[in-house]
Structure formats: C-alpha cells, structure tokens
C-alpha cells in the first residue's frame, strides 16, 4: 500500500517537473512556411478621355495594347490574391490636349479593388498597385 501511495505521489509530483523540463522545438521567427497561392482573375479596365494608344502590363503577365487607338481597353490577369503584381498603365493620346485623363478600374470577384484616374496631356505612364 505504501509503495502504491509512493508511486502515485512521485507520478503526481513528476508531472510539473516533466512539463517544465521537457525539450520543446525552438520557436522559429522566420516565416519560412509560405502561404499557399490563391490565383484570382483580376479584370482591369482602362478608359481614356479621348482616343489613345492604351497599354497594360504586369510582371509575369502578357502585355496588352489597343491597336491602333481606342477609348477603352479591358484585360483579365490571373494573379496571386495575396500579392497581386503592380500594373504598368500607359496612354498616348491621339490628339494631345490639356487635362487628358486615364481611368483605371480593377475588379476581382465582382468587387471594385481600385478606381483611380491619372491626368496628363500628351501621354500618361504610371504604376497602379492593387491593394
């Protein structure tokens, strides 16, 4: 009986000692495990205030251009939803004028992610980041 009580006591006393002293895997600060990619189609619409030669590009995507000129350009790029690439947009207006505008709309899954307007005269070239 004493032996049983002693074993029980040692077992109970041993639990916290085990919990404190057991070897644990080191906490790694790095974010080595990358989240899985979720590829989403992004619909991009460029609309110019007057006819222009429009161009759209993003790294890893096929560049799209209006040929020879148009007032709008629509393209769909499939990109990683966690890190969509920056869009390079260009417009070279057929008839240069003051306050020519280029509107850029980006939608994904029916949601408007970006709606920006750039202003220029002869041409516009800039980068649009998708949130």
């Amino acid at each position: 009986m004493r032996l049983v009580i002693l074993i029980c006591f040692l077992a109970i006393a041993g639990i916290p000692v085990y919990l404190i002293t057991r070897s644990r895997p080191l906490l790694v600060q790095s974010s080595g495990e990358l989240p899985a990619k979720k590829i989403v189609p992004y619909e991009i619409t460029l609309t110019a205030s007057t006819p222009a030669h429009l161009a759209l590009a993003a790294v890893g995507q096929k560049p799209v251009e209006s040929s020879p000129s148009a007032e709008s350009l629509i393209a769909t790029y499939s990109m990683d939803a966690s890190k969509p690439e920056d869009l390079v947009v260009k417009a070279r207006f057929v008839s240069p004028q003051k306050n020519a505008a280029l509107r850029i709309q980006v939608q994904a899954s029916g949601k408007m992610l970006k709606d920006a307007t750039l202003w220029g005269s002869e041409s516009i070239e800039d980068v649009i980041s998708i949130p």
Binding site: L26, V28, Q29, S30, S31, G32, L34, A57, A58, V59, G60, D80, K83, P84, E85, D86, L87, V88, E125, D126, V127, S129
Partner: protein, 296 residues
C-alpha cells in the same frame, strides 16, 4: 539715361553682394541636399555630417559646437537618430539658433527590431531613417522652405520657387521608382540587409526586410539567428543580400556561401554617398537600380 541705368546696375550688384545669406548647419547629408535645393544662393550650408561618413559614430566636438553656435538654423533628423541632440540644443540655445527637426514633419513608423543596434531609439523604437520615403522628403522640403522664409522673408519668392522645383523632381523620381520596381515580382521583394534602415522604403513599395542584426556593429548576431536567416533565404529563394557597410565580412560571407545568395551590392542606408549618390535623387536612383538589378 545711361547714368540712371548704371546706377540701377550698381544698386543691384551691391544688394546681391551685401545680402547676407542664411547660415545653416546640417546634421544630415540628406538635409544638406534639401537645404541647398531650397535655399539656392541665399543659404550657406555647413555640413557637420559629411557624405560617406557614419552618422552613428558622430559626436559633436567643441569645434562643431562653436560652428553650430554661429548659424541661424540647425537641421536635424530627430526620431532618435542623433542621441546628442538635446544636449546640443541646450548648449547652443543662448545663441538663438533655430532647430528644424525633420522627424516632426514626417509620419514615423516603428522599427522592425526593438533592440536595433547603435541608434538610440529614444522615441520607443521609431525608425529614424525617414528619407527612404519620398513622401517624407517632400514634407521636409516644405518644412525647410518655411524655416528659410521665417529667417529671410525677403527671399520668400525664391525659396518657394526652389522648393516647387525640387518637389517636381521628387515627383518624377517617385514615378521612376514605381516604374522600375514594377518589373520586380512581389514574391522577390525581400531585402536582406545588414542594417534595418530601409523600413520606410519597404512600406512604400511592398518589400519585406530581413535584417542581419549586428552585422554593421560590434554586436555579433547569434549563430542561431544567422542559421535561421540562412534557412529563410534558402526557403524563399532570395537571390541577393545587401551590405550597407561590410564591417563584418565573415558573417556576410558565411551567409552568402551557405544560402547560395549573392552579394547584391551596397545600399546607401544612412545618408548620401559620393559621385552619383552624392545627391538625394542620385542616392535613391542608385539604391533602386542596385535592388532591382540584384533581385530580378
């Protein structure tokens, strides 16, 4: 008629000669460049911190304090970059010097590493390297312009025109940076640097920073930290790591050999360099070109 014309020319020349320029002392190479751009000929900039020197190792000498006492405006970074700033301020206070502290005009961000090596993070781990955001430089340009106008109201038109011209250059630079970086996939926007100084740049352009703590100081990074960093560089296939100042080539060599990454070049993290990197515009262009070239 000829006489009147000559008198006017004489008065004009005399005014130009006798117009006293504002004397400015700068504790930052970037602020010196901003001051020159905004001030033009109406401002005399005395560089206390010179391009290529390490601002962390700087301590004002009695000679510097004397120099600073004789100026009207002192330009400083603030945000804890100059641990001696309060002391300096109190020692030259009686001279009527105005301190223009850039940190009060920018939106500060937090440091990645709380125990960040040799900066004194008096402001509770605020990143003091504000100039790596072009938007911050635009804000400080206006701050410097206003300080110069307050010191020399006659020069208002000139300061305003100069500041506007510099702002236009900054806007062009900003667009150039965006276009250059658009060629770099987001997955490759990882900066392994010897120094956690590019936080503002990382925030503006979607980079992640993995600093090698201690590599540019006497503090050695722990072998465990270096091991983890090497593993992360391998896992994420980072092509290049960047040195600001190779003070510990042994650790950098170890990281490049074991991770397979290349040395991507030198980034100007703590201020302007020399040659093309001797101006703010040149420094930013150099950094961006180095980063894109190495990581693409």
């Amino acid at each position: 008629m000829r006489h009147i014309f000559s008198v006017w020319i004489f008065i004009g020349l005399a005014t130009a000669v006798w117009a006293e320029s504002i004397k400015v002392a700068s504790l930052s190479t970037v602020l010196s460049d901003i001051a020159r751009n905004v001030g033009g000929d109406r401002v005399e900039v005395r560089e206390i911190i010179k391009p290529g020197s390490d601002p962390h190792l700087y301590e004002p000498t009695p000679g510097d304090i004397k120099k600073i006492s004789n100026v009207q405006i002192v330009l400083a970074n603030g945000l804890g970059f100059e641990p001696y700033l309060d002391k300096l301020r109190s020692s030259v206070e009686k001279s009527g010097v105005t301190f223009v502290v850039a940190g009060s005009a920018v939106k500060p961000i937090a440091c990645m590493e709380v125990d960040h090596h040799d900066h004194s993070h008096a402001d509770n781990a605020t990143d003091p390297h504000w100039w790596h955001s072009i938007a911050n430089v635009e804000a400080v340009t206006l701050q410097v312009r206003d300080a110069f106008i307050a010191a020399d109201p006659v020069g208002r038109t000139e300061f305003e025109a100069n500041a506007k011209a510099f702002e236009d250059k900054l806007k062009s630079l900003s667009k150039w940076v965006r276009l250059e970086l658009a060629a770099l996939p987001k997955s490759k926007r990882i900066l392994v640097t010897s120094h956690d100084a590019l936080g503002y740049f990382a925030k503006d352009y979607g980079f992640e920073i993995l600093p090698v703590q201690g590599i540019s100081t006497s503090d050695q990074p722990s072998s465990q930290k270096v091991r983890h960093l090497i593993q992360e560089i391998k896992d994420r296939q980072v092509k290049a790591i960047f040195a600001e100042n190779i003070e510990n080539p042994k650790v950098l060599r170890q990281i490049t050999i074991e991770s397979g990454a290349n040395l991507g070049g030198t980034l100007y993290a703590d201020g302007l360099g020399s040659g093309d990197a001797g101006t703010y515009l040149g420094m930013m262009r150099s950094n961006v070109t180095t980063i894109v070239g190495a990581l693409q």
